[in-house]
Amino acid sequence: MKNLSKIFLIAFLFISLVKGVAYANGPAESGEEKKFSPGDLIMHHILDAHEWEFAHGLAIPLPVIIYSDKGLDVFSSSHLYHSPDRTYNGYHLNHHDKIEPVDKSRTIYDISITKNVASMFISVAILVLIFIGIAKSYGKTKGKAPKGIQSFFEPIIMYIRDDIGKGTIGPKYERFMPYLLTVFFFIWFNNLLGLFPGGANLTGNIAVTFILALLTFLVTLLSANGNYWKHILWTPGVPLPLRIIILPIEIVGMFTKPFSLMVRLFANITAGHIIILSFISLIFMFESYAVGFASTAFAVFMSMLELFVALLQAYVFTLLSAMYFASAVEEHHHDEAHDHGH
């Protein structure tokens, strides 16, 4: 464990350095022709793209998949990027890296493998490899102590099961465990992958956090029992006139909970990326050694903090999801018992 954490630390120190160098290469070259704009740089890094750019000029083109009235169109994004007007096959890539039809009357569904989607596939492959591997080693080391990577993840899995699952939801925790574990590791792994140099800002993308929050919301609604609806529609222990106010609040509350999940994850991860990128941008704005050293130190510090935030946000999302599930399956509400006491 100690060695592992040391390796992690060194790896991320190294990555932070490389990250700085990687960013440094990009804008420095173009800085000759046009004035350096940190806003553009930052937005470019945190938004999705149709190619995976590691450094300026070093980019992997990704497949573009478009479904429209003409059927399915699949081609490499390099056709768009390399064409002078960024137009190919009747599609135009706008300055936000979004594909638009040249003929504005057409409706297209862009389901391209973008940088975020590709990054997600990688993270998912890692997740599946690691956890199916661990599941297999449980079969091998049956009745023995956990070994290797299994012993690294076991306490985390047990923490999620015991403290988040059992501790929050209670006796009915078991059916929520696959969702909670998947959400936790999906968010955590993607948060970490986003910290790699050239990594995609997947968990800082509103579409991703929207779907995750939506799933939590749907699971909550699907597993909700009578008590949950009773609490919302006919809140116990509230005088009749107040119900007129309480009812809309409770109904809005149903939606604000997953909404807060969506915004919290998106904002935390995006903000972290923006702060690190801002520190690095400072170097190119001031072009001074002193600022360079100070900014690098701050960027390294922020990267460390982001490592913690990556875990914390995964934990918070999972814990809050568990709490919403708990409210959905709770049998006897505490307020009722409290009211009987009076």
């Binding site: 999705d48 569904y109 973008t114 989607v117 661990i134 099961r161 998947t182 579409a207």
Partner: protein, 163 residues
């Protein structure tokens, strides 16, 4: 731009996440959580078995203690009985010996008495014989002097005191 979800990402996120949820749920979380649960049950079982064994040991120990106590009591009882028997035997033997010795002493006393009586009789007979002898001698020797006879007779009589 930042808060405007892309259709493509929404689509892929939904599809991918649900597939991952299914795959991990079926092939990772189920066996992992199952194994953890099984192991916990095993540990629980082992602990309770150890507790039971301890309990059993305690019980056995108590039983042993009781057996030992019983054996000790039994031993004490046997020793007590044995010593009582021995005492009674000794007493009996002593009584017997006393009776025997008494009997022997009694017999000896009787025998001594008999012997004494026999001896006395013998002495009396002897005395009578002696008296007759003396008388005879006197008669033969001193028929002339009656005074001397009388003196002699009285002297003899004095001597021959019966006892």
């Amino acid at each position: 731009m930042l808060v405007q979800p892309d259709f493509g990402l929404l689509f892929w996120q939904t599809v991918t996440f649900l597939i991952v949820l299914f795959i991990l749920g079926k092939f990772a979380w189920k066996p992992i959580l199952g194994a953890l649960k099984e192991r916990e049950a095993d540990i629980e079982e082992a602990l309770s078995a150890a507790e039971n064994a301890k309990e059993e040991m305690k019980r056995l120990h108590a039983a042993n203690e009781k057996l030992l106590q019983d054996a000790r009591l039994e031993r004490d009882k046997i020793l007590k009985e044995a010593s009582a028997v021995a005492n009674s035997i000794i007493t009996e033997a002593k009584d017997k010996a006393t009776a025997e010795s008494n009997r022997i002493v009694e017999g000896a006393k009787i025998a001594i008495n008999n012997e004494k009586l026999a001896a006395l009789t013998e002495v009396k007979n002897q005395a009578a014989t002696i008296a007759i002898d003396i008388a005879e001698k006197l008669l033969r020797k001193e028929l002339s002097d009656s005074t001397a006879q009388k003196e002699l007779v009285s002297e003899y009589l004095k001597e021959a005191k019966f006892n």
